[in-house]
């Protein structure tokens, strides 16, 4: 093992310590990860764009600041990160994995991007996703699928498959994901990573290419709960440029993780949601979940069962609200101001160019959702579809309110199944949509939820995830349980899940 590979195996916390004490320079750390990407990403295809020069320059700035005697810009200063390619970064191609944005160079930074830069976090490049974050497998990327480092013939989840795979393939210790119906949590679960969706409004959406505005939320992805918490604190906070962002202080989630690891969770009440399990869930996933429940009980938590009867309508409501907002959000991709332009040959009107460009630029899933949403919002159907879905949303929020009356946090398996084969479900949208069965309720309610590895499912030997949900702005309870559980599971198993990931074959990437 070379020194470089050692660096890529470290957690963000340890890398930060090494950089801040001078054991390693930020440039060395960035170079190690860039080399790793160059070595393995041809096989994994986690990245759509690697910004080698930009990353090294950012790292050099961190080293220069340290050399000048300045304290670190943040606890994560100098640590590399993979940015989901739906978050805009000035001067770096941003595609949302769509042909319609091919070649577009954003002239501005998303608020998250600004915060990452201000924190001295080194952005390695942009990661693959399902086109405009629509999907659960990253197969809907216009630029080809990403492989799951546990088995490259399998999906890494979606939409944030690239960010999750980058973590599992040790191409980056940190990543940014965005979660509309589970796009942070589901990829984390099927790759053995940690991913957290903050409370809606906890992290600014400014500069995050919108899929469904009332659901979208960016969040941290990492290999450990503490790393996720550190990244969470770096990107969260009120942003005057996002009217829906919450004008509240950032929850002290790092402290919450340490508390979970130190004081544990004795006395906390943890609710198991009856409706999120059973039929449709893979036996190995359910076994892994039961083991997690037992472990939490061993830690002194009181386990209660809670019923959320309206969750059965969550998927249906989600697939009306999300396509409706999506159909409107994607209307701006019209060839007039940026991105792809088809048919502008002097013989076609602007309207014809718009039609031709959208026909050529959007993939099948994007078109499917635009049509679904356009239909659901149409006069005469609005009340029956969009209107009813909003009512279901209210009922789901009430279910959560009642459940949180009985428990501090709620838990479930993150996904019904472990990673499936690439191509297995591409022709069956319903089967694909069912992947988000357990993650969608929290999205509709706007509450925080995260996935923590719960070991390998015995029947597939692939990672499964434990989903922890908390009331709005209740991130501290969520992270406290996550921190305690992760520590207990690692101790009991004798290993960190990702230590067992297969070594990815060397296929040079970009």
């Amino acid at each position: 093992m070379s020194l470089n590979e050692d660096l890529t195996r470290l957690s963000a916390t340890d890398l930060a310590a090494a950089i801040h004490t001078g054991e390693a320079s930020a440039v060395e750390v960035a170079a190690a990860h860039l080399d790793r990407i160059a070595t393995v990403d041809g096989a994994v295809h986690a990245f759509l764009h690697v910004d080698r020069e930009g990353a090294l320059a950012q790292a050099a700035a961190v080293d220069a600041a340290r050399a000048a005697g300045n304290p670190p810009a943040s606890p994560l200063a100098g640590v590399p990160l993979a940015l989901k390619d739906i978050v805009v970064q000035k001067g770096v191609p941003t595609t949302a994995a769509s042909k319609i944005l091919e070649g577009w160079i954003p002239p501005y930074d998303a608020t998250i991007t600004t915060k990452l830069k201000q924190s001295g976090i080194v952005i390695l490049g942009k990661t693959n996703l399902d086109e405009f974050a629509m999907g659960s497998s990253t197969e809907n990327s216009a630029y080809g699928p990403t492989g799951n480092p546990w088995d490259l013939t399998r999906i890494p989840g979606g939409s944030g498959g690239g960010s999750a795979a980058a973590l599992a393939a040790f191409e980056a210790p940190l990543a940014i994901g965005t979660d509309t119906g589970g796009s942070i949590r589901q990829p984390a679960a099927v790759t053995g990573a940690v991913g957290a969706k903050p409370t809606y409004g906890g992290v600014s959406r400014y500069g995050l290419i919108a899929l469904a505005s009332s659901l979208d939320q960016a969040g941290p992805c990492a290999r450990t709960v503490l790393d996720a918490a550190l990244l969470h604190e770096a990107i969260a906070g009120h942003d005057p440029r996002d009217s829906t962002s919450i004008p509240e202080p950032v929850p002290a989630v790092v402290q919450a993780v340490r508390r979970g690891q130190g004081d544990g969770i004795k006395g906390m009440r943890i609710g198991v949601v009856t409706q999120l399990g059973g039929e449709g869930y893979q036996p190995g996933v359910l076994d892994s979940f039961r083991a997690a429940v037992a472990q939490l009980a061993d830690l002194g938590a009181e386990i209660v069962e809670v019923s959320c009867p309206h969750f059965q309508y969550a998927l249906a409501a989600y697939y009306l609200i999300q396509p409706s907002e999506c159909s409107s959000n994607l209307a701006r991709f019209d060839a007039m101001r940026y991105g792809l332009r088809v048919g502008d040959d002097g013989n076609h009107s602007a309207e014809e160019v718009m039609v031709a460009t959208r026909g050529a630029g959007f993939g099948a899933e994007a078109k499917r959702r635009i049509m679904l949403g356009t239909y659901a919002l149409s006069a005469g159907y609005y009340d029956a579809y969009y209107g009813s879905a909003q009512k279901v949303r209210t009922l789901i929020k009430r279910d959560f309110e009642a459940a949180f009356g009985a428990a501090h946090v709620l838990i479930s398996p993150t996904t019904p199944v472990t990673a499936f084969k690439i191509g297995e479900k591409v022709d069956d949208p319903m089967a694909m949509y069912l992947n988000d069965l357990a993650t969608i309720p929290a999205s509709l309610a706007g509450i925080p939820a995260m996935s923590v590895p719960s070991g390998l499912a015995a029947d597939t030997s692939l990672p499964a995830g434990l989903q922890i949900m908390a009331p709005a702005l209740g991130e501290q309870a969520m992270y406290r349980v996550a921190g305690a559980y992760e520590q207990a599971r690692n101790a009991a198993a004798g290993f960190t899940l990702l230590d067992r990931v297969a070594e990815v074959p060397t296929v040079a990437g970009r």
Binding site: V87, V88, T94, A96, L101, W104, P106, P107, Y108, A110, R205, Y206, G207, L208, I209, A210, A212, S213, S214, P240, R241, D242, S243, T244, S324, E325, S327, S328, A331, R332, F333, D334, M336, R337, Y338, G346, S349, A350, E351, M354, T374, L377, S378, A379, Y382, Y386
Partner: protein, 509 residues
């Protein structure tokens, strides 16, 4: 009164449609007016770009108003305040909680391909506006006033018409995209009969005055900062059922509002009288011909797929804030008019004529520049009104400012201009010859007050008409007119007649 704005050529354009009086005898017009007011906020409705009119194309744009991927809107608080001001001045209820909605449709000059507007939750609703029409007040009920944003502008290059069809290419300017608008929607205005065109015009004119006095917009119809869509339908005289309406766009002046209403009444009447049906459609007003023509026919009805804008939080103006805004409202035009009438000592008739001619503010400014109210009124309402009428423009559109009118009035009262000369000075100002003093100078219009020059002319006139001189000496003072006339002729009218008379008598005494 109603027909004053139409020139004979414009009337000729109406020849192929029904006679207005016959149309009104058979049908009752139902009016509906949608007026867009561009707010005069320094920045756009959802971003901090400037709103200056006429800037270099695409220099007042940012990720938000260009709808770059990822950009998000933030509501301009001043825009909301202006909308509330408008709502209060229109006697509306102000919603304690309302939302923006997305109005979805594709158009190249609309960056997001949806307009952020308000749908079923407008900021202001259920109000009214009292409109002076002739010597009556017509109360127009206001359905709503809601906030929205403007689009960009397309310019179509090539092709004959400047319209999109036949153009070789189009240029897009997004400077206007996102500029705040308030749309004021009237309830159907019924019972106006033959005065419908005049009511429509007076309503828009009254709104314009109101917006100006509220300080929320410069309401320049020629620059598009106030735009009017005219909805009109006819119903058989006495019937309570509304007919099919048309919506006429591109009505860009007060005069056009009146003309568009009149034309649509005549056109629809001729269609209906011939047994035809009115198609519900958007029509465009043509300033040149004074007619309306159908817009492009769409195969399907427009479905805007409105839904609440998820990128914005609801607007919830507190009762305290609304009351603060109400308390700070400036003096409204009708209150101001009453006060000015008292101060100026005008009769009701004088004030009404002045109001109808939209001269109140012009007189006020002329008075503020030092003129007496009577002189100011008489200038604006007689000589200047004639000039405006023959040029087919509004008083305010004349190329003379109240300050210039005040300057002319002051020259008259100091005796340096006669009334006749003053009119020539005004003509010079209107012709762009400069300030009144410059016109006097350039045209040599000053009253000849040089006694020696006058004396010479008088001596010459007396010498030429010795019989008249004798009559005057004999006490027939009325004969002096012949001398004064001769002197005026010799000085090309630039002498003060009283002075001539005085000097003549002195010469002969």
């Amino acid at each position: 009164m109603t027909t004053a704005a139409l020139t004979p050529a414009e009337w000729a354009a109406l020849d192929d449609v029904a006679d207005f009086d016959e149309a009104i005898a058979a049908f009752d017009p139902v009016l509906g007016l949608e007026v867009h007011v561009e707010l005069g906020t320094a920045t756009k409705m959802f971003c901090s770009c400037a709103t200056t009119f006429g800037a270099e194309p695409n220099t007042q744009v940012c990720p938000v108003c260009l709808a770059l991927p990822g950009a998000m809107p933030v509501v301009n608080g001043t825009g909301v305040e202006y909308a509330i001001r408008i709502g209060l001045a229109l006697n509306c209820s102000i919603a304690p909680w309302c939302r923006f909605a997305r109005k979805n449709y594709f158009y190249p000059d609309m960056p997001k391909n949806f307009q952020t507007s308000q749908y079923d939750e407008p900021i202001a609703f259920d109000g009214y506006l009292d409109v002076p029409v002739g010597d009556e007040i017509v109360r127009v009920e206001i359905e709503r006033a809601h906030m929205e944003e403007d689009t960009g502008k397309s310019t179509h290059i090539g092709g004959a018409t400047g319209r999109i069809h036949g153009a070789e290419f189009s240029l897009l300017d997004y400077n206007r995209a996102g500029v705040p608008l308030v749309e004021i929607v009237s309830k159907p205005i019924v019972g106006t009969k033959a005065s419908a065109p005049e009511v429509a015009r007076a309503y828009v004119a009254t709104l314009q005055d109101l917006m100006r006095s509220l300080g929320v917009s410069d309401v320049r119809m020629d620059q598009g900062s106030m735009r009017c869509d005219v909805n009109l339908s006819l119903t058989p005289a006495g019937s309570p059922v509304f007919g099919t309406r048309t919506e006429t766009k591109n009505v860009n002046s007060l005069r056009s509002v009146e003309r568009a209403v009149r034309f649509e009444i005549c056109r629809q009447a001729s269609v209906l009288t011939a047994g035809g049906k009115i198609r519900q459609e958007t029509r465009h007003f043509d300033e040149l011909t004074g007619t309306t023509a159908p817009g492009r026919v769409k195969e399907t009805a427009e479905d805007y797929r409105y839904f609440p804008e998820p990128d914005l939080v609801p607007v919830a103006p507190s009762a305290e804030w609304v009351e603060q805004i109400r308390a700070a409202l400036p003096e409204l035009p009708w209150v101001r008019r009453e006060r000015l009438q008292r101060e100026w000592g005008f009769t009701d008739l004088e004030m009404r004529d002045l109001t109808n001619a939209r001269g109140v503010e012009l007189v006020a400014q002329t008075v503020a520049a030092g003129a007496g109210p009577g002189d100011a009124r008489s200038w604006w309402m007689s000589y200047l009104a004639q000039q405006a009428n023959s040029a087919g423009v509004e008083l305010s559109e004349l190329a003379i400012t109240p300050a210039q009118v005040a300057a002319v009035i002051s020259m008259v009262s100091s005796g340096s201009l006669t009334a006749a000369l003053a009119r020539k000075v005004v003509d010079g100002v209107l012709a762009g010859e400069g300030e009144p003093a410059e016109v006097v100078e350039k045209r040599g219009l000053a009253v000849v007050s040089d006694d020696s020059a006058l004396q010479a002319a008088i001596d010459e006139a007396l010498a030429a008409q010795p019989d008249v001189a004798d009559k005057i000496r004999a006490g027939k003072v009325q004969a002096i007119g012949a001398i004064v006339g001769a002197v005026m002729k010799a000085t090309r009218g630039q002498a003060d007649a009283a002075k001539v008379r005085e000097l003549t008598l002195k010469t002969l005494s």
